[in-house]
């Protein structure tokens, strides 16, 4: 049938996916350390009209191109830092990720609302052990805990260990696993930061901006309506006119 029909349909599907991504960003507007995702699209499957031999077409006719989701990219820009007054709230200023150990393996996170579990280990809000530079869980021996700006851990005034904070050459190789955790794709190189900038008593808020997200919502909705209009025109006007009127004896 009309190739424009499929083009418009693929556009509508893409637009709905875009809404999924923006909605997830909005749902995580108050999730500490959350990084927003951006969906980007590509055109695919061009079909070009064959050129007539001997004639040079000024414009090549492109037909039946489709819009498909090319990828979602995480925007790793920093969120606002907010002081909380709780010394187990850690934020990383600038680049870097904490490393936590989950039953599924080591994961990366920027979410620093820590707890101390019953074994005296530093754990993330969901209970994954935080790792130090020797890849071991951090156990607090004393009754108090204090962090320096470079991620050194002190307990009762005695040095315990240094937190492991890593950065990646290609952060786009990180994929989200939920609960604030990231996994690194194979071949993504991590570098341990020697002097990370860790702020105790501070949480990094989500980097979702409400203005941008509302703008996205409106744009998505209007785009969808426009695509729907194209489709309706094709279905109602072009298709009906062709079937009902072309060839009708006059």
């Amino acid at each position: 049938m009309w190739s424009g029909y499929y083009t418009a349909a693929s556009g509508m599907v893409s637009t709905l996916t875009q809404l999924d991504v923006v909605t997830n960003n909005l749902a995580n507007m108050t999730t500490p350390g959350f990084k927003k995702d951006v969906a980007h699209f590509q055109t695919a499957n061009y079909r070009t009209e064959p050129e007539t031999p001997g004639e040079e077409n000024l414009f090549r006719r492109i037909l039946n191109s489709q819009s498909t989701l090319a990828g979602t990219k995480t925007d790793f820009s920093s969120g606002p830092m907010v002081s909380t007054g709780r010394n187990l709230d850690l934020a990383i200023q600038g680049e870097g990720f904490f490393v936590v150990r989950t039953p599924q393996g080591d994961r990366y996170t920027r979410q620093g609302a820590l707890q101390i579990n019953e074994k005296g280990e530093l754990v993330s809000a969901s209970g994954a052990q935080l790792l130090d530079k020797n890849n071991a869980p951090v156990t607090i021996p004393g009754n108090t805990v204090h962090f320096t700006e470079n991620g050194d851990v002190f307990s009762d005034g005695v040095y315990v260990t240094a937190l492991k904070v890593v950065k990646f050459d290609k952060p786009e190789g990180l994929s989200k696993e939920g609960t604030g955790l990231y996994t690194a794709a194979q071949g993504t190189k991590e570098t341990i930061l020697e002097t990370p900038q860790v702020r105790s008593g501070t949480l990094e808020k989500s980097n979702v901006s409400i203005e941008e997200a509302m703008g996205d919502l409106i744009r998505i909705q209007r785009t969808f309506e426009f695509q729907e209009r194209v489709m309706t025109t094709l279905l109602n006007d072009v298709a009906r006119k062709t079937t009902e009127e072309v060839g009708r004896p006059t």
């Binding site: 909005l26 995580n28 507007m29 500490p32 709780r86 786009e172 696993e177 604030g180 794709a185 279905l235």
Partner: protein, 262 residues
């Protein structure tokens, strides 16, 4: 296709809970020894349509994958144990802890609970009890004929008796401390109980080993900051509205899709 509706719903639920926590804080803005809470959220699972780093041809990788998140959920409600302001009352059994530590009280079932609310009184037998009548642990009994009670910064409690200039020591207040006070469980009445997350109570003398000191004649008022809470409330309300706007957008788009060609 309807992912966005469910994601927006999780966002709205999270914000509703956020408002619950903020309202509880605001309701306790004048509660002695109250410590504010903060709801903590995390992102839910991601639907991975394509892994980042997957091969697009034998020689090239996909630089970024396709991942669609499914919303947010609350993960914890943390107590924030910052010091509240002090209010002078002049009461001889109104005590504040300047710094870390909790008073210990014995519950009716014999277990020990912990509190920062130091507005104690005497019961009929002279025992020092909380406003709900739970006695302080270790027990402290003030003799019926005592004319004045003095509690030192290290918790040493002395009384004077009529017709005597000498002071008599009747006991010492002991404080408890936890490595992870956020893990304590609130049981209402300004009381907390220990859990496996908070760790065991570490007992000590006020003023020593990182414990706070005691001041007599003051109470510690709530550490809720109204301005901060109201700002959090605005953020939560706007976040809720934006999520409901997502629902509406999704609904209108789906409506158009359903009515295609009409």
């Amino acid at each position: 296709m309807l992912r966005c509706l469910y994601s927006a719903a999780t966002g709205m639920q999270a914000q509703a809970m956020n408002v619950d926590v903020i309202s509880h804080n605001l309701a306790n803005v004048n509660t002695t020894g109250f410590k504010k809470s903060r709801a903590e959220f995390e992102d839910l699972l991601y639907q991975t349509v394509r892994e980042p780093g997957a091969k697009s041809t034998i020689n090239t990788d996909v630089p970024s994958g396709i991942q669609i998140g499914l919303g947010a959920r609350p993960v914890s409600v943390n107590k924030i144990y910052t010091q509240g302001n002090f209010k002078e009352t002049g009461g001889s059994l109104d005590l504040v802890i300047e710094g870390d530590g909790f008073f210990q009280v014995t519950m009716p079932d014999g277990t020990v609970a912990y509190t920062r609310a130091g507005s104690f009184s005497k019961d009929s037998t002279g025992r020092v009890v909380t406003s709900d009548g739970y006695p302080m642990e270790p027990p402290l009994t003030i003799p019926a004929d005592a004319t004045s009670v003095t509690i030192g910064t290290d918790g040493t409690t002395t009384v004077t008796s009529p017709g005597s200039t000498a002071v008599t020591e009747i006991g010492t207040i002991q404080l408890a401390k936890f490595i992870n006070p956020s893990g304590l469980k609130s049981i209402g009445k300004n009381l907390f109980t220990q859990t496996s997350a908070s760790g065991d109570a570490v007992l000590g003398t006020p003023g020593l080993e990182g414990f706070g000191t005691i001041s007599q004649g003051f109470v510690e008022i709530s550490n809720v900051d109204i301005v901060e809470e109201l700002i959090e409330m605005i953020v939560a309300q706007r976040a809720y509205e934006t999520n409901s706007r997502s629902v509406r957008t999704a609904d209108e788009m789906l409506n158009r899709a359903i009515n295609l060609g009409r």
